[in-house]
């Protein structure tokens, strides 16, 4: 009995110890609960929100681009896509078979789709086909009962209704690279596109707008349960350009199969009315994702459709540069209206013989005649007396030798050489002979078509330093245009020369003349060699241009303006390897100016 008492006592003691331990352990659980839920509660609340809230970016529609008359040049079109949600069809294969009966898929597409369905979560839509036409969409909707799991979604695609006509200044949009995306969540949206070139790139910030976002509650498998919060973005701003799409189309078509560039400016404001570089390309190919074949075709075309010749093409201005030289000489007082030089067909300087394009010579020429006939000898003599510095000075005043900064990529500076430039570039002194060559716009002198049209505009508008622009100027902007210090009188002399080039019987571009209710044009031709003529060839007789391969033929240039009495439009046309400024470039320029006059652009 004693031992029984001990047995009971031991049990009591040890049970009490146990009970205390159990109580302690349960209290410990409460302490732990406090630690997790109260002490660390905020941290876990944040983690729980991270789990359940998925923030998605709302993509703003990109701003449209219009021409000066409100014609759409770039906009967003609805892109109908057919998508499939695997979990909503009893058989993916069956649905695909039925789908193919309505919209054919090639094997590659089909395999891609099947692969995506296999690796994606079953409730996530997989794209079957995009850019569906209305007919295709309605056919799919009509057959919806046979297509379980298929649905149509609409997105936005950038589209350029005028295609090739606007490619070189609008540029195009494309997928965002990793570098560009940085930390901008909008740019990281799959399929988001930004301006890759041209004005699409230049005005990217305005056109893009601002993304909104929507907070969604998702479950552990990523399925959307509900929308928690939505912040709408701001649509991209529309852009109104100075381009007149009618003139643009006309000018581009005027080139036919030729390769080259043309720019038309409003001479008083510098507004670009037409901006042509041919051949062009279809920017819509880029927004939809260009095929390898199409890309190679563009890349390997010897006429470089991807190059914007109006700003990236640097050409010897040739005789069109005589406008600059004539003006520089008149301003410097080296010549006046009546100063004449006798053209015998060649001029000797040191050991070198400089030829006029007309081997028989023009005889006595004053400045107006020299412009009209494009007499080289007159300008050799003038350049020799004037010196390169004064020529370069005038050329720069008229907008040459530096990029116009019109806002497009790859704009070239052109080249207006002078003594310092030659020393820096070649470490040699400037030679007089080089001034002579520069006098007829050959040698080192280079200009882009945009610079040429700027130069003409600044001359014919009476010496106002207009800058080419794609954006309309308001009155205040127009008031800010700087006046270049050139005398009115001298400008009129040069204009007289340019008028006679076209309208005089013997003018080099007299085939390009027109008369629309008394409105006439003026201008200056240019034909520049792209190859070196050897002494031997000169002796044997220079090969005719049409006998040469295309790549070696002369460039044809023309700069012009109209109307003659009250200039409004200026144009520069460069036809690459077009052989003859008067025969090829001048007629194109003439047609363009006539069209501009008829359109009466304001």
């Amino acid at each position: 009995m004693n031992r029984d008492n001990d047995k009971g006592k031991t049990l009591l003691q040890r049970t009490l110890i146990m009970a205390a331990a159990v109580f302690g352990m349960l209290m410990f659980l409460i302490a732990r609960l406090y630690y997790l839920q109260v002490y660390q509660g905020d941290k876990y609340l944040m983690l729980a929100d991270e789990n359940r809230i998925s923030t998605r970016v709302l993509v703003p529609p990109r701003g449209s681009v219009f021409d000066r008359n409100g014609v759409v040049l770039a906009t967003n079109e609805q892109n109908f896509q057919a998508l499939i949600v695997a979990e909503q069809t009893p058989s993916v294969d069956m649905t695909l078979q039925n789908f193919k009966k309505i919209i054919p898929l090639d094997d590659e597409e089909e395999n891609k789709i099947k692969e995506k369905i296999l690796y994606n979560r079953k409730f996530l839509p997989v794209k079957l086909k995009d850019n569906l036409t209305w007919e295709e969409v309605s056919a799919l909707l009509l057959n919806a009962p046979d297509l379980p799991g298929v649905f149509i979604s609409e997105g936005l695609n950038r589209t350029y209704p005028l295609g090739e006509y606007t490619a070189h200044f609008l540029g195009y949009v494309g997928a965002v690279s990793d570098d560009e995306a940085k930390d901008n969540p909008l740019l990281m949206v799959p399929g988001f596109k930004i301006g890759k070139s041209g004005l699409e790139k230049q005005f990217e910030d305005e056109l893009r707008g601002h993304g909104g976002n929507v907070k969604l509650e998702v479950n552990a498998y990523g399925r959307i349960m509900k929308e928690i919060e939505r912040k709408n973005g701001i649509e991209g701003k529309s852009l109104y350009l100075t381009i007149d799409s009618r003139l643009q189309k006309f000018a581009q078509d005027a080139f036919g199969d030729n390769s080259g560039a043309a720019v038309v400016l409003d001479v008083h404001s510098g507004e670009i009315l037409a901006f042509v570089s041919v051949p062009s390309f279809d920017p819509n190919l880029f927004t939809k994702g260009i095929s390898h074949a199409d890309w190679n075709k563009l890349l390997n075309n010897e006429r470089n459709p991807l190059t914007n010749k109006a700003i990236s093409g640097q050409y010897s201005p040739g005789s069109t540069f005589k406008i600059v030289v004539a003006l520089a000489a008149l301003e410097a007082g080296v010549i006046d209206k009546n100063t004449t030089f006798d053209c015998t067909g060649s001029m000797k300087l040191g050991n070198h013989l400089f030829h006029c394009w007309k081997h028989s010579g023009h005889g006595e020429q004053n400045v107006v005649e020299a412009l009209k006939n494009s007499c080289d000898i007159f300008f050799y003599e003038v350049a020799l007396q004037l010196g390169i510095e004064k020529i370069a000075d005038m050329a720069r005043k008229l907008g040459m030798g530096q990029a116009t900064n019109v806002g497009l990529d790859n704009e070239k500076d052109g080249l207006i050489p002078d003594e310092a430039w030659k020393m820096a570039r070649y470490g040699e002194k400037w030679q007089q002979g080089e001034s002579v060559i520069a006098g007829i716009g050959q040698g080192y002198v280079l200009a882009t078509p945009l610079q040429l049209v700027t130069m003409v505009s600044r001359v014919v508008n009476g010496g106002y330093a207009v800058n080419p622009t794609f954006q309309k100027l308001d009155l205040q902007d127009k008031g800010k245009i700087r006046k270049i210090n050139i005398s009115r009188k001298n400008i009129e002399i040069v204009k007289q020369g340019m008028f006679e080039v076209v309208n005089s019987k013997k003018g080099t571009a007299n085939t390009a003349q027109f008369d629309i209710d008394g409105i006439k044009m003026g201008g200056k031709t240019g034909t520049t060699q792209v190859r070196r003529i050897t002494l031997e060839e000169r002796r044997k007789g220079i090969l005719k241009d049409e006998d040469l391969p295309w790549k070696l033929r002369n460039h044809a240039l023309f700069v012009g303006y109209a109307p003659q009495d009250k200039p409004k439009y200026a144009v520069a046309v460069v036809v690459e390897h077009g052989s003859s400024g008067s025969g090829v470039a001048a007629p194109i320029a003439s047609k363009i100016l006539q069209e501009a006059i008829k359109l009466n652009i304001n």
Binding site: R3, D6, K7, T15, Q37, Y44, N51, E217
Partner: protein
């Protein structure tokens, strides 16, 4: 009233009616409360639906409640009398399912009882307590504290534990071992023997390890360290802590637990139900569950203290300990204090097996308490 029962108890033989009114209804109330809370949480786990869990849970509980009353009202002496037989029968059942599990590929390790799945290992938890209680009931303290006195009970423990271990159900095996060790502790086995056992375990473990299959080793390693499996058990515990912690003091509200309803929380209706409850009802809900369980367990100790028979005391302590282990391991597990071992929260988690076994335990505990004044002689047989 009290006197009336006193008189009844003293008569040694209680009528069914007397026994019924002797049931501790505070204890029963706590049990019912927990089961109702379980039903509410299961209703939420199904996104506000009675199906598939909540309705079945409450029905099961109703049936198990009847079983509890039956077990509480039977003659207490039957438990003493049939302990060994029950133990051997359950052992045989355990062997039977084990063998059939090996013979028939993927055969069930449980017996289907329509609303419940009876697992012999669950029954063994009770049978083991009964058999150990009966054994120690018949021993003197000298015998308990002698070496030969504990060989038999150790064998009684080792057999079923080994059988459950090879199933392999490590969680249940460990729970049975813990329960047995606590019984050994309270009856007065000297502490140095536990130390020796622990030492032997340390020595023998590497040897036993050597004989295990690769997949068994893998299971044990994952059991000991869930971080080994970050996408499985590790992911579960991380999500459980997020769900719990984000509940704060007052919770996100009924049916509003984001972690649970958006499926970030795994096993929300079974092992992780405490997490779900604490997410929706916050620390208040969690503390309520722990306190209700604390009351139930405290009742158990009170019953143990006031029961006069050694057998009765030991049965209550054993079964109470077993229940405590369920509660503690489950909650400690979802709180990230213990490795994740599939142990549910009794009365709240969905699942018939554990519901059946804990309700049976409560019935037996109540039976011991009803007959607390009945003197059961030390000799187990023929003292009637």
């Amino acid at each position: 009233m009290y006197k009336y029962y006193e008189a009844g108890i003293k008569s040694q033989r209680l009528s069914i009616k007397d026994r019924f009114f002797n049931i501790n209804f505070g204890y029963v109330l706590c049990i019912i409360l927990l089961a109702l809370i379980g039903t509410v949480v299961l209703y939420s786990a199904a996104n506000g639906n009675w199906n598939p869990w909540a309705l079945k849970h409450i029905v099961r509980f109703g049936i198990a409640l009847i079983l509890m009353f039956v077990l509480a009202l039977v003659d207490v002496k039957l438990y003493l009398k049939y302990s060994y037989i029950a133990y051997f029968l359950v052992l045989l059942l355990l062997i039977a399912v084990e063998v059939s599990g090996h013979v028939g590929m993927g055969a069930q390790r449980w017996i289907d009882l329509k609303f419940f799945k009876l697992q012999p290992s669950e029954l063994m938890k009770i049978a083991l307590v009964l058999v150990l209680a009966k054994y120690f009931h018949g021993c003197t303290l000298n015998k308990i504290q002698s070496l030969q006195g504990i060989i038999a009970p150790i064998i009684m423990v080792v057999f079923p534990v080994a059988l459950v271990m090879v199933q392999p159900d490590l969680g249940t095996a460990l729970m049975m071992t813990f329960t047995a060790m606590i019984i050994f502790f309270v009856v007065g086995v000297q502490l140095w023997k536990f130390a020796v056992l622990g030492g032997a375990g340390v020595v023998l473990a590497p040897i036993a390890w050597h004989f295990l299959h690769g997949y068994q080793k893998e299971r044990i390693l994952t059991f000991l360290n869930p971080e080994r499996d970050p996408l499985g058990a590790g992911y579960h515990i991380i999500q459980s802590k997020i769900a719990l912690g984000s509940g704060g003091i007052f919770g996100k509200g009924f049916l509003n637990g984001t972690q649970s309803h958006l499926n970030f929380l795994p096993e929300k209706h079974t092992d992780f139900i405490f997490t779900m409850l604490s997410e929706e009802f916050g620390m208040m809900g969690g503390v309520l569950i722990i306190l209700l369980n604390l009351i139930i367990i405290a009742y158990g100790y009170v019953f143990a203290f006031r029961t006069s028979s050694y057998f009765g005391k030991l049965v209550i302590i054993g079964l109470n300990t077993n229940y405590f282990l369920y509660v503690f391991i489950n909650i400690a597990m979802v709180l990230g204090l213990l490795p994740v071992v599939g142990i549910p929260l009794p009365l709240i988690s969905y699942g018939g097996t554990v519901m059946l076994s804990v309700m049976a335990s409560f019935g037996i505990i109540l039976c011991m308490d009803i007959n607390r004044n009945l003197n059961l002689g030390r000799s187990s047989f023929g003292d009637d």
